[in-house]
């Protein structure tokens, strides 16, 4: 599991990409609520 998270030393870049993308999607969906 920790090997998976490490992404061969690129963890910061890979998870930084997917994490921020997920955050954007969450904010986009939340913006629909009035």
């Amino acid at each position: 599991m920790s090997e998976f998270l490490a992404m061969g030393g690129y963890g910061l870049y890979v998870w930084g990409s997917y994490g921020v993308a997920l955050l954007c999607i969450v904010l986009d969906v939340l913006s629909l609520k009035k």
Partner: protein, 237 residues
């Protein structure tokens, strides 16, 4: 049928029915895409695991351009036919288009650092994609600054249509100029220059992004309809 749906009143319930379907499709496709991206696809020989950013970067970049063209198309339709729903659709698409543009730029920076050695370069591909973000934000700001919705629709449509010239510039930038960004790996006219599993993962994520965009745009256009038609009898009923 189409003419009937062009009225906000008729479109409102139809959009409401479609949203859960597109939302569920988006979630299922994204799960399948992530499975391929992280479990099935092997480590890249030259880039190691860093290349897995491709599965979010490329679909987001595609979507940023597609959504702009669709937004400009709706805006242009509104300008030509004076249909109220068209301008609302354009407004509904813009924030999600801007989001995908930002994701493309952000993931590009995080991919550029380990592979190119830099977060950012002012090359044609990156710069034109940044201009796309400004076009989306300009479109949103312009429409928000004009009180009369019909005037806002018209002004926004002109901006959107003029800005559409940027989309082919983004797409062909890697051919027209010497860029640090690589050329297209996927095209309709020749075999893709990548492994089948990678292509599958990318296409699944791209389809998920499409379904997501449709669901969110429909939900947003419903909000806009409610806001703009709040004085109409049908919405108060």
């Amino acid at each position: 049928m189409l003419y009937k749906l062009a009225s906000p009143q008729a479109f409102f319930p139809v959009a409401g029915t479609l949203i859960p379907w597109f939302g569920a499709l988006a979630a299922a496709l994204a799960l399948a895409g992530l499975y391929v991206a992280f479990i099935v696809a092997p480590t890249d020989a030259t880039q190691g695991e860093a290349y897995r950013i491709i599965f979010i970067h490329v679909p987001a970049a595609w979507m940023s351009m597609f959504l702009y063209l669709i937004m400009a198309g709706w805006a242009g339709l509104g300008l030509a036919l004076n249909t109220r729903l068209s301008g609302m659709m354009a407004s509904a698409i813009a924030p999600t288009g801007a989001m995908f543009t930002f994701i493309a730029l952000w993931t590009g920076a995080l991919w550029g650092k380990p592979t190119w050695g830099t977060w950012w370069v002012w090359d044609a591909r990156l710069t034109s994609e940044l201009i796309l973000l400004f076009l989306y934000l300009g479109f949103i700001a312009l429409k928000a600054s004009i009180d009369d919705p019909l005037r806002a629709d018209r002004a926004g449509a002109i901006l959107a249509l003029v800005g559409a010239v940027n989309v082919p510039i983004i797409y062909f930038s890697v051919q027209w100029w010497n860029t640090l960004h690589q050329g297209a790996s996927v095209s309709l006219t020749r075999a893709p220059a990548m492994a089948m599993t990678m292509l599958t993962g990318m296409l699944l994520m791209a389809l998920a992004a499409w379904m997501y965009s449709i669901a969110v745009s429909l939900a947003r256009v419903r909000n806009i309809i409610q806001e703009r038609e709040r004085h109409a009898q049908w919405i108060q009923a």
